[in-house]
Symmetry: C2
Subunit: 320 residues, 2 copies
């Protein structure tokens, strides 16, 4: 029997919390910035009805006895969270984030601010939580890098000179979910659940959707047309109805890759590869889509948020 | 008192039916192709549970006694309808549609076929019902024209040499509806119903969305990014939350206009104006969006389907 004694005996130097809309994760982090232990709970800011102190106590449990700093990132610092940590403007290095930290009135928790940037037309874009993951995933002194964080609201960020230079959000995950659940495309895909051999060619249908989306990346926006193609392909027996969801997923992620690549280029970064930070299942899809678009993909660390919290805590002088 | 006697006394030469997924409309048409009377009922093919003969009897009522031909268009000719009228390939003139008509087994109704076309990547596109509206709205011998039929699945069609040369579908209306009802953008707009002065600047927010969508029509597809902008603009107090829906509507219709214009151009039509066929409320929005994109808009006839049915019936030798 291998005893985990040595691992659990390491002293905790920081408690990090990644506190989002629907869930919260807490990390015990040692004096070298390594994660000792992790806990997750469905205690997102939407779930806890304003009782943030109670939710934190539930999440931490016996970790509350640790007399170490506690640093959180994510929606907990939004206007709907515990206390607002106002958005910091891009470009933003770990030092800018460290300067923007805000403490709750009861001093139970310190919170990392989110970031704001503006796109080519001056429309604002925001992130909360992802800035910390990016700081944790990208080495500070590396050459310019492109980080991609797939999800409900995917983020593409350029890291340059140790700072998050600029970023852009794509509503890919949410658009997929609402079309899958509420549109005619979802009703076609419903046959899936009745199929004997579900998703027999998921990978192929996904790649086909990606290629369709990338086909005329230089032409005017045509996503609204391509979406209808998912229906007609199935209608005309060119696509198995049960593959509609994967084709739709490919269309949307492909559209994001085409747009994100162009966005990075307009900001002076001709990226040949992207660093993916997110769930393994999504990262696999994004890696395939990036590959179709001629880009390589690298997987970021799983505990990017914990690493980022450690780095910001160090920069802020909370630890070390 | 003006007696409508002269109008109702005109003899009926054709009964036309525009029979879609959610509703059905019937027209009594005189020997000159003019509509004498119209009836509408929520007897779409999704509502009538396969009893098409019963639904037709209900829709026509005492018109059943007219011993004149009956010609229908729309989803009634789909695989889910009364009898399938197989899709006709583009380019298709009224004569091609007339050659493709199919009669129900009980000879109660003759049905116009739908059209199929393929886009640049070979993905099929289909229409059922709109082909008849286009035939009714566009004069056969005019110079090349661009017809735009806004709706759940908007259609853009090029009419050239008296035939529908090509068309493209955009899922604009359906994407708007699902995002409005089921996404975070809808939840922001919900404040609308609580506002004292609902939609105070609807026109301005709509136009702003259109301009954002048209801003880089030449760059890669960026709709997924712009959609998130509707949220951040409201979050950052640059847009009243109750205007989110109009901004979203502008983004989507603007995106359709940018894509449709590029599509027509790739098919050799540099259109300076479009003929709009659809509901007055939608046509007003599309005219505004076309105007922002530097195009003029003309409103097609309200009874385009009836006119088209008459023209196809004449070409098929059913009347006249």
């Amino acid at each position: 029997v291998i005893q985990p004694a040595r691992v659990t005996a390491r002293a905790c130097a920081l408690i990090g919390v990644d506190w989002g809309t629907t869930s919260a994760r807490a990390y015990r982090i040692d004096a070298e910035g390594a994660v000792i232990e992790m806990r997750a709970a469905p205690l997102g800011i939407q779930q806890v009805r304003g009782d943030f102190a109670g939710a934190l106590a539930t999440l931490l449990g016996n970790w509350r006895q640790e007399s170490v700093p506690r640093l959180a990132c994510g929606m907990i610092g939004s206007r709907q969270g515990w206390i607002e940590a106002p958005y910091v403007e891009c470009p933003a290095a770990a030092a800018s984030l460290a300067r923007g930290i805000v403490e709750t009135p009861d001093r139970a928790l310190t919170i990392v601010p989110g970031l704001v940037d503006r796109d080519d037309e001056g429309v604002p874009d925001v992130m909360r939580g992802e800035e910390t993951q990016i700081v944790g995933a990208v080495a500070g002194d590396a050459s310019p890098a492109l980080a991609v964080l797939p999800g409900t609201h995917s983020k593409w960020a350029i890291v340059r000179d140790g700072a998050i230079a600029s970023f852009a959000t794509y509503m890919t995950g949410e658009v997929y979910a609402v079309l899958r659940e509420h549109s005619i495309l979802g009703r076609m895909a419903e046959m899936n659940s009745q199929a004997l051999d579900p998703q027999p060619s998921a990978g192929a249908a996904f790649a086909r959707g990606v290629r369709a989306a990338l086909a005329d990346g230089g032409a005017a926006d045509s996503l609204l047309h391509r979406l209808f193609g998912a229906r007609t392909l199935a209608l005309r027996a060119d696509l198995a109805p049960e593959d509609t969801s994967d084709y739709l997923s490919g269309l949307l992620i492909g559209s994001e890759v085409a747009a994100g690549r162009g966005w990075a280029r307009r900001r002076g970064l001709e990226a040949s590869s992207a660093l993916l930070v997110g769930s393994p299942a999504l990262c696999i899809r994004y890696a395939a889509a990036l590959h179709e678009g001629g880009m390589a993909a690298e997987r970021g660390p799983d505990d990017a948020a914990a690493r980022g919290l450690w780095r910001i805590a160090s920069t802020a002088g909370l630890v070390g």
